[in-house]
Subunit: 428 residues, 2 copies
Amino acid sequence: MKKETINVGILGLGTVGQGVIKVLQENRGFIEQKIYPRKIVLKRIADKDRNKILPKPELYKIFTDSAQEVVADPEIDIIVETMGGFEPARTFIMQALKSGKHVVTANKEVIARAGYEILNLAQENRVYFLFEASVASGIPIIGALSNSLTSYKLKEIIGILNGTTNYILTKMSDEDRDYKEALEEAQKRGYAEADPSKDIDGFDTCNKIFILSAIAFRAMINPDRIYYEGIRNISKLDIEYARELGYTIKLLALAKDDGQQLDIRVHPALIPKRHTMANINGAYNGILLRGEGFGDLTFSGLGAGALPAGSMIVSDIVEIVNNFNNYRNNYNYFKKKEIKDFKQTQSPFYLRIRVKDRPGVLAEIAGSFAKNEVSFASVIQKGEAGEIVDIVFLTHRAKEGNVQEALKEVSCLECVEKICSTIRGVEI
Amino acid sequence: MKKETINVGILGLGTVGQGVIKVLQENRGFIEQKIYPRKIVLKRIADKDRNKILPKPELYKIFTDSAQEVVADPEIDIIVETMGGFEPARTFIMQALKSGKHVVTANKEVIARAGYEILNLAQENRVYFLFEASVASGIPIIGALSNSLTSYKLKEIIGILNGTTNYILTKMSDEDRDYKEALEEAQKRGYAEADPSKDIDGFDTCNKIFILSAIAFRAMINPDRIYYEGIRNISKLDIEYARELGYTIKLLALAKDDGQQLDIRVHPALIPKRHTMANINGAYNGILLRGEGFGDLTFSGLGAGALPAGSMIVSDIVEIVNNFNNYRNNYNYFKKKEIKDFKQTQSPFYLRIRVKDRPGVLAEIAGSFAKNEVSFASVIQKGEAGEIVDIVFLTHRAKEGNVQEALKEVSCLECVEKICSTIRGVEI
């Protein structure tokens, strides 16, 4: 006999959990058309903080402060994990899957650190583990990669995957703010957390590009091998100089399959300012997929927020409900792949070097770069002539390790005051 | 017992059919990972023109010039219909479904004119009818709307859905070509057919926005009620004037759900030139989805071509293979909706009117518009003063019928030589 009522339990009433409730309540009729004749019932909600449920008296009787109670409830079919963070979220997810419950989550940290193990457990128990909301929540990218692009052989992913840093960089670029002002504004508007370091330093983006790479390339990879660097060192001055040269600076996630290894990394990068990805602004995320023969497929949408994330989680629930008696494993195959050593990767570079303004300086610097096989596409002196000037170098594509080596040498030159900025470019 | 070999038959070896074969051949290993332990076997290929198979000797033995033979083959599980056009494609599709075969197609004309009937028949026979490649083939939009965005309540779709016209408009805009030159270049490069009228006049875009609207709004609508207008009358001069005013002209498909009716239409429109949709260029397609609370979700990708379309069709095949014994109906619900009378729709307008250059002209014209409740946002005289000048008017949002009425009156004024151009805008 087919089960007609599917019971859902939510763990965690933060922004995303609240979004799930809102979507379930407000779009009920609309959603029920799509799962007819089944119905989704919100059975239990858990949060450590009882105050979170105060604004919703109609839900008091299904609220508990014990997530354990919800996970253990035998009547619940689907657990929505929206507590965030690694533990205890991982433990609850594993426990739910073991007891035959489906799980939907937006928790990129858990997936990055325990995703393969969780997917295996889900498969063993023939239940779904879905996570559309974990990456670029307003963009249905996991569904596209898992269900729609199954015969596209992807070569490359370029992503702007963090709304906080994109908001900050957009403010710095469009309104000429410095980093600190832009961060404060992002915090004031709720786009950045009180402790924004996971976003600012690229860790969040790193988790997301890990997830996209694993799914897109069906790859088993070690996320700890992904190089990531954030935007703390991006100055207003470099944004301005980059703009003069025709570029916008974005925090990019890059993943490329060269057939042997995966080149995956996260760092700020210069993009030609007319390119679509340079025009993904504010809290928006963007993802570009590239493969042979089918051009660039680009998505842009809100990266976070109660409704985008809530809608995606509910769409995952709908998928489970529609396949309730027909378990099908989307992720039965991951091939072990190595991540390319960061020093072996190649990029063009933007370098800003502060030097003593006197004859022969350029020759000395150029010599160090030439020795390390780094050549320049352009060299521009910035600021007025004086004792000390900044020189901006744009290099041709060069090996990361060689550029690091050259910079080490250059920084020891007597004529060089300081390596001010090292920002990679992207051949897009 | 589970069937492990799924047999595919292809009807029609045009660009798309060839693309399907290429993807099946070249990505075999890659695809088999995703459908393991099943296998896809290309069993029969039909085309009226025997020359089409000449370059592929390895396929001679599965080729026939009778589509009927392929549809009637009891061993074939999935029919790929890539013949195009309405009949006999529709008949073959219906026949295949009736005999329990799944069907995958890129044929927007058949879907626009017989889609509901076909979906019903597929449902009765518990087989799949999939059509991802029918709209914007490089963009997995049907999958996104059908599977990933099931709890998003969409309000609006804005699409650039025809690569031919977008290529022509891009050439006219970026390289200052006139319409005829741009069309010839599109034909030379294979972006436009010898008889390009279905593309140029908006019919193709009309079929595509019908499909997107039906799926997005789960609406049963009459495609004949959709107003469409193509790009034949767009002049280099209007592109230039629009650009000076900050706009790009694109052939847009618009669909909006006002809760009561659907406002669906296809016509050239001015878009602010910094908007993402204004920067979808050349043979690319773009689709913007808008709903309450989750911002704009935008997709861009190639609109046509052997590999984009072939990949999407093969992805549809993969979906069928993965659900082979678990039939699930994605489209069990369409609600009858009316399409808003075009005369009742509202747009801002760009109007270029040729007049005798003498005092009082503007007052006369403005009077006719005012009488019909059309007000101006700006009025600019173009060209040097002389006997005859062009005036460009940008109106505020106004009712289509009122603008038509006003233009009828204005064209009768003695001071008016000619209504040169009437192009709508879009509030994006």
